[in-house]
């Protein structure tokens, strides 16, 4: 089998609509920066976005911007700039590439969207450490740079059962943010608005879950590599009707693919799990490599991370705390293994790919023996690829390709 054969890449028709709503989102943010009455908040991607939206903030997500730096293969131009001011090449390459791009006064936003000159300068920076400490350090840099208030939620990590005490602590932290955010936004907190926003977020993420679940079918209609792009609205537009409309459209298209027996990969022979961050600068190459190998990479922890089942508008503070704490990245090894096991069984997967992302330890779950434990537990093979989310200097294309091809040859011989 050769991965170098010519491949047919099946474009998702909804992509045009996604580009439009993402453009509208960035123009809206840019407009907000120019309008003194409109306040802008930066929020980490699994941070308390619904609370911010309900207070009238326009919300910008720096991780989305950093992923753009990676996907446009610009990140390695910027990482060294942040390294030079003391931010190690071993820490989050989202952080280093984003700060580096700011220091060089460059952004993919101005290349993609005519008239946008820079990233939207915020009035407040809000984090949740549920993902890692780096997000806090990242926003703290901008807080010092612009003298803008930094606040957020510190979440316990590596937890199994989520106790009431843990949730109570987070609820208190969220409530403590409210008066500070009211002051910055100039708007009074309105719990009904919070409920409304949460209901919209819930609907958005439930539709996103349905989109991802279409991949339980064989052939699977959507690859992981497509899903990483199409989850953009679930990250930055959740809480809005626009995102709901978008996922209804995307779901319809995926259901049509199901009805027509159209798979993302022609002649699908193997089905794999992707555990860890995408390698943003290599999405297209990876996608084509796997199409050439008749292998569908169709389930992932990453894309599932924006499904917030716990949202309950009846109790928005408690359910925010629960939704943003019960995500995979926060949990202990036993929870994570059971989670992957369920996905592997439900999606009928043949193997697991672990991406050991050099600068993202919290999303590199191969490092504490999990692949070996899961191989035994599930009786399927796994492969670990060394790479990085944004720093392509940490990725050896030839070595990764050889390992992936060898892994598929191994599956063929089983």
């Amino acid at each position: 089998m050769s991965a170098d054969k010519k491949v047919t890449f099946k474009k998702i028709k909804a992509t045009g609509q996604m580009r439009k709503i993402m453009a509208d989102y960035f123009y809206d943010l840019d407009g907000a920066v120019k309008d003194e009455t409109q306040k802008v908040a930066w929020c980490t991607s699994v941070g308390p976005a619904e609370l911010l939206l309900s207070l009238g903030f326009k919300v910008y997500y720096p991780e989305n911007h950093a992923a753009m730096l990676g996907a446009t293969r610009q990140a390695t131009n910027y990482i060294p700039v942040a390294n030079a001011i003391g931010y190690s090449p071993d820490i989050c390459s989202y952080l280093t590439s984003d700060i580096g791009a700011y220091l060089k006064k460059e952004t993919p936003l101005s290349r993609a969207y005519e008239g946008i000159e820079g990233i939207p300068k915020p009035d407040v920076l809000v984090f949740n450490t549920n993902q890692c400490r780096d997000v806090q350090d990242w926003l703290a840099w901008y807080s010092r740079e612009w003298n803008i208030p930094l606040m957020g939620v510190s979440t316990f990590r590596n937890i199994g059962e989520i106790s009431d005490e843990v949730l109570a602590g987070i609820v208190q932290q969220l409530k403590d943010l409210v008066p500070k955010l009211e002051k910055i936004s100039g708007n009074k907190f309105d719990i009904d608005k919070f409920r409304e926003t949460m209901a919209a977020s819930k609907e958005c993420t439930e539709l996103w879950e349905k989109v991802l679940e279409t991949n339980m079918a064989s052939p699977a209609p959507m690859s992981f590599f497509d899903a990483t792009i199409h989850m953009g609205p679930a990250v930055v537009l959740r809480g809005s009707q626009t995102a709901i409309d978008y996922y209804e459209l995307l779901l319809k298209e995926m259901e049509e693919r199901l009805a027509d027996g159209v798979g993302a990969v022609e002649d699908e022979k193997f089905r794999l799990y992707w555990e860890g961050m995408p390698i943003w600068g290599k999405l297209r190459d990876m996608s084509e490599l796997f199409i050439g190998l008749n292998t569908a990479v169709i389930a992932s922890t990453y894309c599932n991370s924006w499904i917030f089942k716990a949202f309950d508008p009846a109790d928005p503070f408690l359910s925010t705390a629960r939704a943003y704490t019960e995500i995979f990245i926060v949990r202990d090894e036993e929870y994570k293994e059971k989670y992957i096991e369920d996905v592997v069984r439900n999606f009928k997967l043949d193997g697991i790919l672990f991406h050991d992302s050099k600068t993202c330890p919290t999303n590199s779950n191969n490092r504490y023996g999990m692949p070996e434990r899961l191989e035994k537990r599930l009786n399927i093979p796994s492969l670990t690829i060394n790479g990085d989310l944004n720093d392509l200097r940490c990725y050896s294309e030839e070595q990764a390709k050889t390992q992936i091809e060898a892994f598929i040859e191994q599956l063929e011989a089983m």
């Binding site: 050769s2 191989e375 093979p381 060394n386 940490c394 070595q399 040859e409």
Partner: protein, 257 residues
């Protein structure tokens, strides 16, 4: 067609093996890969054909190695992981772990009783535990690669080299030289370093076989490996040609199909 050829274009050298229908090696060759993989494939294959007394038209050709897609006359390509497993099981038809130490990568391949691959590991993006590490250190010490084995054999002692990084290891060696360590002891130390880096890549339960250019040129390193693991280690008759042999065996299988 009565002959089956395997061409393994590795990062450092290109290897060709020609086998007959019985799986016996009747011709082989090794050349430097250089910058032109296609040229290296042509030259190596030509030399192996000459030895075997056959021509391209008599052969089914399979390619492997980093340059596996640069062999226009190959019928198909397989990764070096699969080919090393196939070649090693041909030499040692039993469950075993193959440790291949190549020019720029090392592989640990676990093979079951039926010759199927259970698992494999490759070194991370780093020269530690590969031939490139030995080459760099030999270059720093101004020693030819073919002198390493003899020097290591003469060592009275083993100098400890701790660093993963080749550059740091070279610095460490300078310190050992300043402290008065002899060159043979340093060479034995770098052999130990390669063995340690390889052994930490995976668990090593069961029978072990070794292959690759580093093994082919340094039989003393195999002896050290045996001392370190306390196991008898299988070494194929042509250690550097395990991958090419495996490709030739796949070519033979393709004919059977």
């Amino acid at each position: 067609m009565e002959f089956f050829a395997g061409i393994d274009i590795g990062a450092s050298t290109t290897k060709a093996v020609i086998i007959n229908t019985k799986g016996e090696v009747i011709g082989y060759s090794v050349t430097d890969s250089g910058a032109d993989f296609e040229l290296a494939a042509n030259q190596t294959f030509g030399q192996a054909c000459e030895q075997a007394g056959c021509a391209l038209d008599d052969c089914i050709v399979a390619s492997t190695g980093y340059g596996r897609n640069n062999v226009p006359f190959a019928s198909f390509a397989k990764t070096e992981i699969s080919c090393h497993a196939e070649g090693s099981f041909h030499n040692f038809p039993r469950a075993h772990i193959l440790i291949d130490i190549g020019g720029q990568d090392s592989k640990i391949i676990k093979i079951d009783n039926d010759g199927k691959r259970i698992n494999f590991r490759m070194n991370r993006k780093c020269a530690a535990g590969t031939g490139a590490f030995l080459e760099e250190i030999a270059n720093r010490l101004k020693i030819r690669l073919d002198e390493l084995n003899g020097l290591a054999e003469k060592a009275q002692d083993n100098v400890q080299i701790s660093s993963y990084c080749t550059v740091f290891a070279a610095t460490e060696i300078l310190s050992r030289i300043r402290e008065g360590s002899g060159v043979p002891e340093i060479i034995k130390g770098i052999f130990t370093s390669v063995i340690k880096r390889v052994l930490e890549m995976d668990s090593m339960e069961g029978d072990l076989a070794v292959s690759g250019g580093v093994v082919a040129h340094n039989p003393f390193l195999v002896k050290m490996f045996e001392e370190k693991t306390g196991k008898k280690i299988f070494v194929p008759p042509l250690p550097q040609l395990t991958g090419a042999l495996g490709a030739a065996l796949y070519a033979r299988k393709a004919k059977e199909v």
